[in-house]
Amino acid sequence: MIPFAQYVQGLASNDELLSLEGPFDVPPPVIAAEALRANGPALRYERTDGADLTSGAFSGPDQLQRRESAPWSRLALGLGLDPEASFVAVLETITQLGPTDDRPEPTADRQAAARTVDGIRQLALPRDADDVWPALTLGVASVATAAGTHWAPVHGAVIGDDTLRVRTPTALSSLLDGGTISVALGVPPATVTAAYLLAVRDRIEVPIQACGVAERVPLVPTNGGLVPSATEVVIEATVDDRNPDSRSDRREAWEYGTESTSMALSIERILATEEPVLPFSPLERPLSDDLQLTGLVTAATLYDRVDDYWGISPVEWVQVPAAAELGICVVATNVLYAGFEWQLANILFAFSSLFDTVVVVDDDVSPRDLGRVLGDIWLKAHPSRDWIFSEPSAPMADRPRYRRDGETGSRLYVNAAWDPRWEDAYIAPRVAFERSFPASVRDDARRLWETRHGGPDDGVRDDA
C-alpha cells in the first residue's frame, strides 16, 4: 500500500512531478487543465495558506503521440507496480481491488491524520475560474452498515466552514441509515481506484471487507466508516439534506455511467496530517484525473468480464481512452471466427452504458499504440462493409453529447481487424522499424544514430 504523500514523492523521483510555489494568481484548476492539455507532468502546488495540492497525479499523457510514458503509468506506480507495467497488469491489479470471493482480514494502523482542523476553509480547497465555491474532488466517502464499510467516490463543494454539498452514487446514499458519513481526501491510490471501481461496477453494496483493497490498505475507524489509516484529511460529517439544490455542480466522470445523488453534509470534525497534500481533478477538462480513473476502471471491468467468456481468452486488452473522453471503447482481440467481432462488440455494449461506439482491432496492436488504432480504423475497415450500425433501437449512451432526449438510436462497431476468412496471403505485413529491417541493419542503425546523434536510439522521446 502506498500512502498518497509517499506516492507524490515517488512521482517526483520518477520525474513525473513539477512543483509550483504559491501564491497563485490563476486558479489551480486552470493551471491543471493547461498542464493536462499539454501532456505535462503531475503538478504540486506548494502553498503557505492551505494544504498543498496536486493535479494530474492519476492522469497522464494522451497516446496520440509516441511517448515513453503511457496514461496509466502514474497510476501503476500508485498501485505498487512498475511504471512500465503492462496495461493488462494494471487492469488486473485494479480488478483485484474490487469484490473478491475471499474475505480478506483488514489490517489496522495508526491514523496519520491526527491534527484537528477548525474549519474546512483552512485547507483552501481549489476553486475553478467560474465556480462560486471551492471544489472537493477525488474524495472517498465511507459509510458503515451492519454488513461492513462501503466506499464510493465523492465530490462536491465547500459551502461554508462546516458545510459541504456533495454528490455520491445513489447506491451509497441509500445505505445511509444512521446519517453519518466520512469523507477521506488524499487517500492511497488503491483506495480511490477501488471506490471508482465499485461505483462503475454498481457494487457499492459490497463492503470493503469483501474487497481486495482491504488486504492492501491498512484501515482505521471513523465516525462514518473505515478509512485508510494513511489518509491526509478525514472529514467526519452528518447528512443534513438528501436533495439539496446542486444545479451548478460539475460532474466527476464516474457520474456519466453511475446514478448519483446530492447530499448536504454538516461537518462534525476534520482531522489532517501535519502537512497534508491533497489531490484534485479539474473537472470536465480533457484528460482530467477523474476521466482517467473512470476510463481505467471501466476498462478493467470490461476486460474482466470478457476474459475467459468464451472458455478461452481471445481478448488482449480493452481501453476506454480518456483521450476520447470515454466515448469510444477499443478492444484488441483475436477474431476467432467470422462474426466473432459482432459478438464481442455487443457484449461490451451490454456491459457498459458509457459509449455506443466500439472499435475492434487485431490482437497484435499494442495498448500503447492508440495512434495505430486511429490509423487502422480507416485503413483496415472498409468504409461500407466494416462500419456496422445497429438498428436505431439502442438506448442512449451516457457519455456522448448528442441525443440527450432519451430517444433510442444506433450503435456502431468498426471492425478494424483482419477478416478471419482471408487467406494469409491477403494480409498486408506491417511496416515498422522492427519488421522492415533485418536485425543486423537495426543494430548498425542504432549504433550509427547513437554515435553521431548522441541522443536516444530508437527511444520514444517524451516532449521536453
Binding site: 494522451d62 486511429l374 456522448p400 448528442y402 441525443r403 438510436g409 511496416v431 522499424f433 542504432r446 544514430w449
Partner: protein, 499 residues
C-alpha cells in the same frame, strides 16, 4: 526569405541545429532508411548521409528532410519559406494561404545558368544505378525514388503538370512509375498518349527547391500551374530551365533531373512497397516503363527520400508532413475559393491521405453533404475515404480535440453519411481490399469500388471549457516559468511570450 534550392534548405536546417550529418560510409541498402526511421520515430534531427557506399557518383542521401518537429510539423517548412517558427497550425495555414493567393509566373533561365545542368549525361552515358537510390524497406520490390516531382506535359499550361508518383529503379536507363488511373498525369498517359501509341515526355525532378516539392503535393486544379503557385509560395518567381531532350521545363536548382519518356504499352514490374498506410502494399504489379534519355544534375547531388509507413498510425515523415503543411493549406484555400466557409482542411495525422478533418461553419442545411461531395468529385476521389467535420471552434490540428468530437458529437444514428454503397473509385494502394479486389495491372485501378463517407462530428453549441484565454495564457506562462517547455503551449510563442 524563401530558400532557392534544396541544399539551401538543408543549410537552413543546419543553422537551426535540426540536421545531423553522417560522414562514415552508409549503405543505400536499408541502412540509410533504418537510421532515418530511428530519426523519425524519436523526433530527431534530419539525417544527411554524406558518403554512400558502392555508389559511383559522389552523392548524399537525405532522410525525410521535410519532417518537421513533432509538435509543429510545419516548422521546418516555415523556415524554408521565411515564415517564423513556432506558429500555431492555424496561423501557419493563414500565412501560407496568403502567399498562395498570389501566384507568380516562373522565370526561364538559360541552360548554362541552371545549377541542375552542372553535369549532363545523355544516351549511352545514362546510368541510373550510378546514383544512390535507397532500398527503403525489406520486402520492397526494388530501390525507389519517392520524394520527387514528376513533370509532365499539359495542354493548358506552358509549365506542365507537377505531381508525385513513386519510381522503382530497374537498371541503367529504365524505371517504372506508379501511374494510378484517376490521377491527372496517369490519365493523360492512359487515355491520351498510349491510345495513340505515343510516348509521353516526362521529367523526374529529384531534390527540387522546397516550394516545388510542396506544390507537387498540392491539389492544384486542372488548368492552373503548380509552377505559378510555387512562385506565390516563394513570393518571387521559381526559376525553370528547358530540358535537354524534350520540351518540358524543370526547376533550375534541382539536384537531379531525369528526362525521358513513358513508353506506350510497355510495362515493368512495380512494387510491392511499404507505403504511406503503414503496411506493405502488394501485389507486385506492372506499371508503365519510364525510359530515361538524359540525366542532368548538380555536382555532389543530394538525393532526398522518404521512409514511408514506418510507425503505423504515428507515421511522421516527409510524406505526412507535406500533406499537413502543404496540401492542407492548399485544400483550405481551394475550399474557401469554392465558396465554402471552412476554417481549415487538415489531414488526419494518423492516416493523412485517407481521412481529412475540416473545421467549418454550417451556414445552411445540407452544407456538409455538398462540401464532401465537392471534394470527393474533384480532388479527393481516389485517396480520401472519409471526411470528419468539426465545428469551426474545434482545433483541427489537435487530434485529441478531433477524437473527442468524433466520440461525443458524432451520433451513429444520424451523423455518419455514406455516398452510396461501393460506387466510388479507389486507388489499389489501400489494404482493406483483397489483392483480388485491387485488380491486375490494368491501368492501376481497383476492380472493386469503395464507399466514401463523411462523419458529422459538429456539435450543437459552444464546446470550449469557458476559461478565458487571458487566464489560460497566464496559466501557461506559469507552467513555463516552473520548467515546462513553451513549445507545448498553444497560446505562447517559443520563448513563452504571449502570441
Amino acid at each position: 526569405m524563401t530558400v532557392d534550392s534544396f541544399r539551401a534548405f538543408l543549410r537552413r536546417l543546419d543553422e537551426a541545429d535540426a540536421l545531423v550529418s553522417f560522414d562514415d560510409p552508409v549503405s543505400w541498402d536499408l541502412e540509410a532508411s533504418a537510421v532515418t526511421a530511428l530519426a523519425n520515430r524519436s523526433d530527431g534531427d534530419v539525417p544527411v548521409f554524406e558518403s554512400i557506399a558502392e555508389t559511383a557518383v559522389d552523392a548524399s542521401l537525405v532522410g525525410d528532410p521535410y519532417r518537421g518537429p513533432r509538435r509543429r510539423p510545419w516548422d521546418h517548412l516555415a523556415r524554408a519559406i521565411g515564415l517564423p517558427t513556432g506558429l500555431s497550425g492555424a496561423a501557419y495555414y493563414e500565412r501560407l494561404i496568403d502567399r498562395l493567393r498570389s501566384p507568380r509566373e516562373p522565370r526561364v533561365l538559360e541552360r548554362d545558368a541552371a545549377p541542375c545542368k552542372d553535369i549532363v549525361r545523355t544516351g549511352d552515358d545514362v546510368d541510373l544505378l550510378s546514383l544512390p537510390w535507397p532500398y527503403i524497406h525489406r520486402g520492397d520490390g526494388g530501390r525507389y525514388s519517392n520524394l520527387h516531382t514528376v513533370v509532365a506535359p499539359d495542354p493548358e499550361t506552358r509549365w506542365g503538370r507537377w505531381s508525385s508518383h513513386r519510381m522503382m529503379i530497374h537498371d541503367g536507363p529504365f524505371a517504372s512509375l506508379l501511374f494510378l488511373a484517376g490521377e491527372q498525369v496517369p490519365n493523360r498517359y492512359y487515355y491520351d498518349y498510349e491510345p495513340r501509341d505515343e510516348p509521353m515526355p516526362v521529367a523526374v525532378v529529384v531534390g527540387a527547391e522546397p516550394v516545388v516539392q510542396c506544390t507537387t503535393e498540392m491539389w492544384i486544379p486542372a488548368g492552373r500551374s503548380e509552377a505559378t503557385f510555387a512562385g506565390g509560395m516563394k513570393d518571387r518567381p521559381v526559376d525553370l530551365v528547358p530540358c535537354e531532350t524534350n520540351d518540358l521545363y524543370v526547376p533550375a536548382t534541382a539536384e537531379v533531373v531525369l528526362e525521358g519518356r513513358v513508353l506506350p504499352n510497355e510495362r515493368l514490374d512495380e512494387g510491392p512497397f511499404g507505403d504511406y498506410f503503414g503496411y506493405m502494399n502488394g501485389p507486385r504489379r506492372s506499371m508503365p516503363a519510364f525510359a530515361i534519355d538524359a540525366v542532368t544534375r548538380r555536382t555532389e547531388p543530394r538525393v532526398p527520400f522518404c521512409v514511408e509507413g514506418t510507425g503505423v498510425g504515428y507515421g511522421r515523415n516527409s510524406g505526412s508532413t507535406l500533406q499537413l503543411a502543404a496540401a492542407g493549406p492548399d485544400a483550405t484555400l481551394g475550399l474557401q475559393a469554392a465558396g465554402f466557409d471552412v476554417e481549415a482542411a487538415v489531414p488526419w495525422r494518423f492516416t493523412s491521405r485517407t481521412v481529412w478533418v475540416i473545421a467549418t461553419d454550417r451556414p445552411y442545411p445540407g452544407y456538409l453533404h455538398r462540401l464532401a461531395n465537392f471534394v470527393f468529385t474533384t480532388w479527393g476521389m481516389l485517396h480520401i475515404d472519409f471526411f470528419v467535420f468539426v465545428d469551426a471552434d474545434v482545433d483541427p490540428f489537435d487530434p485529441r480535440a478531433v477524437l473527442t468530437a468524433i466520440a461525443l458529437d458524432a451520433d451513429p444514428d444520424a451523423d455518419f453519411h455514406q455516398f452510396g454503397v461501393e460506387r466510388m473509385p479507389k486507388v489499389p494502394l489501400n489494404i482493406y481490399q483483397t489483392p483480388e479486389e485491387k485488380g491486375s495491372a490494368d491501368v492501376g485501378t481497383s476492380k472493386a469500388k469503395t464507399a466514401k463517407a463523411y462523419i458529422d462530428a459538429t456539435g450543437d453549441g459552444d464546446r470550449t471549457d469557458g476559461t478565458a484565454d487571458d487566464r489560460r495564457k497566464r496559466a501557461q506562462k506559469r507552467l513555463v516559468t516552473a520548467g515546462m517547455s513553451a513549445a507545448r503551449f498553444d497560446l505562447l510563442d517559443g520563448e513563452g511570450k504571449q502570441r
